[in-house]
Amino acid sequence: MPKIINIGMNHETAPVALRECLAVESRNVQKALGLMRSLDVVREGFFLSTCNRVEALIVAQEAREAKRAVVSLLSKIGNIPVDDFSSCLYTYENMDAVTHIFSVASSLDSMVIGEPQILGQIKEAYLQSTREKMSGVILNRLMHKAFHVAKRVRSETDICGAAVSISYAAVELARKIFHALEGKKVLLIGAGEMAELAARHLLTNGVSSMTVVNRTFERAVEVAEHFRASPVSFDEIEDQLLKADIVVSSTAASECIITRAMVKKVLRKRRNRPLFLIDIAVPRDVQPEVNKLNNVYLYDIDDLKGVIEINKAQRQEAAVKAQRIVQEEVVKFEKWLKTLAVVPTIISLRNKAETIIQAEFGKSRSALDQLAPPQRQAIEVLIRSIVEKVLNDPILFLKGKAGRSTLNDYLDTTRKLFSLDEGDESSRTKTVTSNKPC
């Protein structure tokens, strides 16, 4: 019975310096698969490498040997001695490995639970594995099931529901206020990584135009160029407040730039159009009292973090439900895997029948040669269908016993009944690894 083995490290078990050694180059995957193919113990292989994880998934007959081979393979790729990283590795076998890979695909094992990239990365890695002809019956099925599980988790739970980053949370809130961001105007005050990220997300989500304000005009021009926005000088803030729908502020100023009085004055001229202020600066740029004005919504960095915390908790809750889905699918996969044990016997049975047919045809050749081709063909069809019918019930019976504890006895009996283990046919069990679905 072949074993499924998973060896890897992720953001929890290994420091980034170590992951870097193994992960950075995408060529590594190809290299790893190439090395895997040269290993005799590895029958099927899959290698995943992202910035947060490195995983090798293999199918092998000899678990211990295979593990050792994979670990030394990792050390070869990363060019680091085994002892330096062996403590950071985790190893899963059989159903634990299946559970793990299903969880990874469903983004339950990710640093940010529910992040959507991992599934694409796994698909890519699987594609490479098939290209290198390193995936066989078991891996094909396993990976397709992993995609299926990920899809189920995404559609049946809220795992990728609410935003868990500051900038996404800001976009989500803006949507709850304005419904659509199309045609809305953003005012970016000051600059900073997080503010620019938020502005970028707003732009990609449909905001139509953006204006950049900075204490130093040159910097404003510079930032504006990034976003194809228009720069304006610092004194024009009040004017700009009149036009903007969403304000993202993050200056290094020590006191408030936007005061309640200022917004109140503007509000009347805006005819009460809603205004959404996102204050990412510390200390704050916008007076907190601004939030008390009608149709004005102010979120500072702590508020946004609060939103994210709630959303993270929601995802954790969803993850529990997702784990149940994973378990369900693991059980299904296990069932399928057990039917594989029957396959070699069925194949030998069929091969044996085929040999007999060929042999008997050979014996009767002289008699058959006298018949016309259509008749000869009819006889061949007849013989094959009789053999097929005779074999049908035993095969169905064996498949039905797959996964039962008595299976081995039945397999044994079958092999003895049909004397399958004598002659050349018994050595052909290696054909299991072919891509033929069962």
């Binding site: 304005f178 419904h179 809603p274 009608n294 508020d303 939103v307």
Partner: protein, 279 residues
């Protein structure tokens, strides 16, 4: 005849109640199929309700609104009718979870109130009355929906302002959408209300010989009309929107409900239900 009509009434009531339950299940579970089932239950209920009203109209010769029982059922019917139109336009699933309970509420009260069996006075058998009642009720239904949208707006606005997101946050649409529904429902409801009042006064001129006679219902209707006019004015001219507009439209609708039920029951006058059937 009565037996048949009451069967239609009971069918309508049952379907509307089940639909309401469905809509409540929908807002909790957020399953689309629950919404679809509830929606079609409501449509079927509305169909039965229409048949019921059709029979009543046929047997009375006038829109069935002359006693409290009929008026409430008619109101419930118009709310559902207007909702179905709005739903087709806005496709906002959560709206049903607010509208259906309101309609079912009026329908349930209607089923509990005893109806009068007095014959209809010939003066009421006029197309003008049906027109008056029809326009006023469509207007009222639209204004009811604007009030519901206002309530939804206030719930959602409170969550966003306080930065505490409860169960409703994800289930309610954006503030802009809710404000829009509130606005358009009033913008369309108000002309119906106006038209209804004008038609009513023309009818009064034919039937009673006088356009306006300071009947309590007339006075209160005028007050409501002025309130709504003020709200629309503020919205269009001053640019009111959001919270203030929402609160104002709830106040306006409370006045309207008082005019519809309170005045008819408590204050007498020729609009009161007592005077319609009694004499």
């Amino acid at each position: 005849m009565e037996a048949i009509t009451s069967i239609w009434f009971i069918l309508a009531l049952c379907f509307e109640l089940i639909a309401t339950a469905g809509f409540i299940v929908f807002i909790v579970t957020q399953k689309k199929w629950v919404f679809r089932v509830s929606y079609w239950l409501l449509v079927v209920g509305f169909g039965f309700h229409t048949i019921f009203l059709g029979f009543r109209y046929y047997s009375l010769g006038v829109a069935p609104v002359l006693d409290l029982k009929s008026a409430l059922s008619f109101f419930s019917w118009s709310i559902i009718g207007v909702y179905l139109v709005i739903q087709a336009r806005f496709k906002l699933r959560v709206l049903g979870s607010f509208v259906a309970p309101l309609a079912a509420f009026f329908m349930t009260i209607s089923s509990a109130v005893p109806g009068t069996q007095a014959p209809v006075k010939p003066i009421f058998k006029s197309l003008w009355l049906t027109l008056h009642v029809g326009t006023v009720f469509v207007g009222n239904a639209l204004l009811a929906i604007s009030c519901l949208a206002a309530i939804m707006y206030l719930i959602q606005e409170r969550q966003i302002k306080r930065k505490r997101f409860g169960t409703f946050y994800g289930r309610l649409p954006s503030l802009a959408t809710l404000d829009n529904i509130n606005y358009y429902a009033i913008l369309y409801g108000f002309p119906f209300l106006t038209l209804g009042m004008i038609v009513g006064s023309i009818y009064a001129h034919f039937a009673l010989g006088i356009y306006w006679q300071w009947d309590p219902k007339e006075v209160w209707s005028l007050i409501c009309w002025l309130f709504y006019a003020a709200l629309i004015h503020e919205r269009l001219v001053v640019g009111w929107q959001g919270r203030k507009a929402a609160i104002m439209s709830i106040v306006c609708f409370s006045l309207l409900i008082f005019t519809f039920l309170g005045v008819s029951l408590l204050m007498g006058g020729y609009h009161s239900f007592g005077n319609m059937g009694g004499r």
